[in-house]
Symmetry: C2
Subunit: 214 residues, 2 copies
DNA sequence: AAAAATATCTACCTGCTAGTAGTTTTTACA
DNA sequence: TGTAAAAACTACTAGCAGGTAGATATTTTT
């Protein structure tokens, strides 16, 4: 799901060519999701009204209802970004990084850490507000999270089996790495002037040290 | 602030003796705070109604208003427990543990970790819902948090200065230890069948390893 | 045991918010 | 440029939730 947008207007651009209509719909959906994630991040899902979201975009409430079934559907879209992008990055690293287990661990922490920082507001909203999803959306999002956790756990177990990681850290380290997704935003924002690169490199070193794989 | 209560009724016990009235008031205040923290923890502050809280206690809404000024005041009481107990434990350890710096670090992680697990619901609500406090309450609670962070930072700096801790981990480790307060509840509940003791002992070892003070 | 004081409840108000019906504006196309 | 279709808006409803006034029940005191 692409979310980054560059224009700052919802006025339909005068473009020629076929099939740009669905693109423009997606563009507006993304603008809504982006604005909502920002507001939900700052004030919380239950404290934000749809009028708040509409105002932020200089549109009206019924506008939102022509792109989303209800308020909860907007939250579901945010949560989906929050977990699915991290999952996609994880799977990409696991599919393409074929070095040592410690190299794989470092790359996972680096790439997942980066996406969590890039999509900080989505990730935090996903964590904090997931409980307000409908039963169906909740199950769908939870499956993605379980897939994420499972693949992290497998990676760690393989490293332990190979002898590269200390035996006694399994399975806590798996929880720890999974915990990055919960923890980075708090940490990153509370560590003041540090750049994302500094924070991530520290996390990579910390993960290796915890795994006994320096 | 004492919060643990044993009775399961709000009916005034038939006790004799002077000055038990204020004790009974405190007892009821604690019951309200306890019930509210549980509901806020599970469903979120903004999604919980005062009727929910009252029902949980088998009383009515005006009952709550005779002990608290408004809904936000209940949240403030919860937040105060969430941070002030951790702060008290920290200060107690720092005042009485005079061994090596690594012994102090281990004891801080152990004792603060224990209180965070014991008061899990309060701590989580404090973190997640603090932004809904009034400006005055927010400032008051934030001061406690800053005091906590500051003392953790000092402890780490002293350990680094003494040579017991690795130089390059300062000041990230300070954020990490402070982050325990954010992180333990998620971790503890997602680590399945593990006992509080196991989780805490792992945290102590992890903190020492991160500090380079094993 | 009656009166005073305290504690709790019933019943209500007011403002807000998710969601909708139907009208108006804008766009696409001939 | 005129007409149909699509997009967006104005104006509304229904229900809920924080907060309160005044009545009732309970406890304490004399």
């Amino acid at each position: 799901m692409s979310v980054a947008v560059s224009s700052d207007s919802l006025i339909r651009p005068r473009v020629s060519g076929a099939s740009l209509k669905s693109e423009f719909v997606a563009f507006k959906v993304n603008r809504i999701v982006e604005a909502a994630s920002h507001l939900f991040y700052e004030r919380g899902y239950s404290s934000c009204t749809l009028d708040n979201v509409a105002n932020q975009l200089s549109v009206t409430k019924p506008f939102l209802y022509s792109y989303f079934k209800n308020k909860e559907a907007i939250l579901a879209a945010i949560c989906e970004v929050g977990i699915s992008e991290a999952l996609a990055v994880l799977e990409d690293v696991l599919a393409h990084e074929h070095g040592s287990h410690r190299a794989r661990l470092a790359e996972v922490v680096r790439k997942v850490g980066q996406i969590v920082i890039d999509r900080q507001e989505y990730v935090v909203v996903y964590q904090r507000e997931m409980k307000h999803l409908s039963a169906d959306d909740y199950k769908r999002i939870l499956r993605l999270r379980h897939s994420f956790d499972h693949q992290i756990g497998e990676m760690i177990r393989e490293g332990v089996a190979s002898g590269e990681f200390r035996e006694d850290i399994d399975p806590f380290i798996a929880v720890w790495i999974g915990g990055l997704i919960s923890w980075i935003p708090t940490w990153y924002s509370s560590s003041g002037q540090r750049s994302a690169e500094e924070v991530i490199e520290y996390l990579v070193q910390a993960a290796l040290r915890l795994a006994g794989a320096e």
